[in-house]
């Protein structure tokens, strides 16, 4: 997959926002039409049936409706990633779109902590869009109980899959992220799966999860979530440690880049055939996504937005950019997010590629990656 960030505008100011640095950057606020057309061309060349529109808040782009129309005209199924503060005209427009070619991933507010106005607006969005909405939730600590999202699925008859993300650090940034304390089980994740299963709601996990966040019993009883369905030629292997002195070691295939699940089975666009769907194991979901920014630059992902960026190519496809980012990052990163990762049997079995690369980069001493812009992080400057 690849995402198109069509605007830097956002009014939510989430503390954990992994786009925080990008939103604050002094650059184009809104993606201009010529860049958007080029981005759609890039998706076409990459063989993607979906146009995934991000922000900021994508519905705040002045040409939001035109951009969705244009993507659908070109045969894409459109997925909009929204924080829920959707302008009313955009909401009415989205309500009229067919569910088979349009959906919204709604980053759920937390009723107990977020502003009532935001929560109420999200309820309105859910009421208006119904099954077109897939709820998503980003978890910042093991104390959170995000099970409220499951109630909303039933209450508003939403898509019966909920997307769970873990708040990742922006490498070189200042966002509020989930602090991992070694390879430990984080019970909230499997609890959510269990509650969801009880009411017929599937829980899908986003990038950067590792099997060690789940109990052995859970991993063993959910093999479909943790094992590849295809052979992974780049599966990592345990590194051998010499017993004395020091010696060269290889950094065998950190990332199963070729395994990224481009699309869900339900996301085939009009007239465009999806690449063969591969069920990607939870532990190997970190790799360059490729996010296209409003000015047309491409980054590996938002968590690594302060590292390298490339101009949107007029030729070639996503795999070319993925190769570039992989080649830049893999040789210099630790094998995993924890110091124990080199000895982990999940890694040895190819069930885990070490977790979020931005987290892995945080382990480097001193920081070996060179930030693009050394200026201190600011707050969001775009309205």
């Amino acid at each position: 997959m690849a995402n198109i960030s069509i605007t830097r505008r956002c009014r939510r100011h989430c503390s954990y926002c992994f786009a925080k640095h990008e939103l604050a950057r002094e650059s184009e606020a809104d993606m201009p039409p010529e860049v958007y057309e080029a981005a759609l061309g890039f998706l076409e060349r990459s063989g993607f049936p979906e146009a995934r529109l991000l922000g900021g808040e994508p519905t705040e782009h002045p040409l939001f409706r035109e951009y969705v129309d244009r993507a659908r005209e070109r045969g894409f199924r459109v997925v909009v990633f929204s924080g829920g503060l959707v302008p009313q005209p955009a909401l009415e427009y989205m309500a009229a779109l067919p569910v088979d070619s349009f959906s919204v991933v709604l980053n759920a507010a937390e009723p107990a902590n977020d502003a009532e106005a935001l929560v109420n607006r999200q309820r309105e969005v859910c009421r208006a869009l119904g099954a077109k909405v897939m709820l998503g939730v980003n978890i910042r600590s093991s104390d959170e109980d995000p099970s409220y999202v499951l109630d909303w699925v039933t209450e508003y008859d939403l898509c019966r899959t909920v997307r769970v993300g873990i708040a990742h650090p922006i490498w070189g940034g200042t966002n509020d992220f989930f602090r991992l304390r070694g390879p430990r089980v984080i019970p909230v994740f499997e609890r959510l799966v269990a509650i969801g299963a009880g009411i017929g709601v599937n829980v899908g996990f986003d990038c950067g999860f590792t099997p060690c966040m789940f109990s052995r019993e859970f991993v063993d009883s959910h093999a479909d979530m943790f094992m590849h369905s295809v052979t992974d030629p780049g599966a990592p292997t345990a590194q051998g440690w010499p017993t004395k002195g020091w010696a060269s070691i290889s950094d065998a295939g950190h990332d199963a880049a070729g395994l990224r699940q481009a699309h869900s089975d339900a996301s085939v666009g009009q007239g465009r055939k999806a690449p063969a769907s591969q069920r990607e194991a939870i532990g190997v979901r970190c790799g360059p996504v490729v996010d296209i920014l409003p000015e047309g630059d491409c980054i590996a992902c938002y968590a690594l937005s302060r590292f390298r960026r490339l101009p949107l190519p007029s030729e070639g496809a996503r795999n070319d950019l993925v190769s570039f980012f992989d080649n830049e990052l893999s040789p210099v990163l630790p094998a995993g997010v924890h110091r124990e990762c080199t000895q982990c049997d999940y890694r040895e079995k190819g069930m885990c590629n070490g977790g979020c690369r931005a987290r892995r980069a945080l382990r480097l001493r001193p920081n070996a990656l060179i930030p693009l812009d050394p200026e201190p992080m600011g707050e969001t400057t775009h309205p």
């Binding site: 110091r339 990762c341 001193p366």
Partner: protein
């Protein structure tokens, strides 16, 4: 003596891994030598302290520890992992 500016490192369970900034070279330093690296990387190196530490970690006499430190540092210097102040 300090780590070369061309080198970064990270701590693993069994030692420290060094990595050239361009990613072309990667080396592991297992314990107890990783302890010596940590001394240098943290700016706490002195010959006396390093020898004492290695003597304890390796369970060897002081002279042998001094020799080990000397040889190890020479090798790291030659490999470009370390540079003079």
């Amino acid at each position: 003596m300090k780590p070369s500016c061309q080198v970064s490192w990270f701590v693993e369970t069994r030692g420290v891994t060094l990595c050239s900034r361009d990613g072309s070279v990667r080396h592991s330093i297992p314990y107890p030598h990783a302890g010596l690296w940590a001394l240098i990387a943290n700016g706490h190196y002195s010959t006396a302290y390093a020898s004492e530490l290695m003597s304890v970690l390796m369970s060897v006499g002081r002279q042998e520890a001094e020799r080990e430190v000397e040889e190890t540092l020479a090798a790291w210097m030659q490999a470009g992992f370390l540079s003079e102040e």
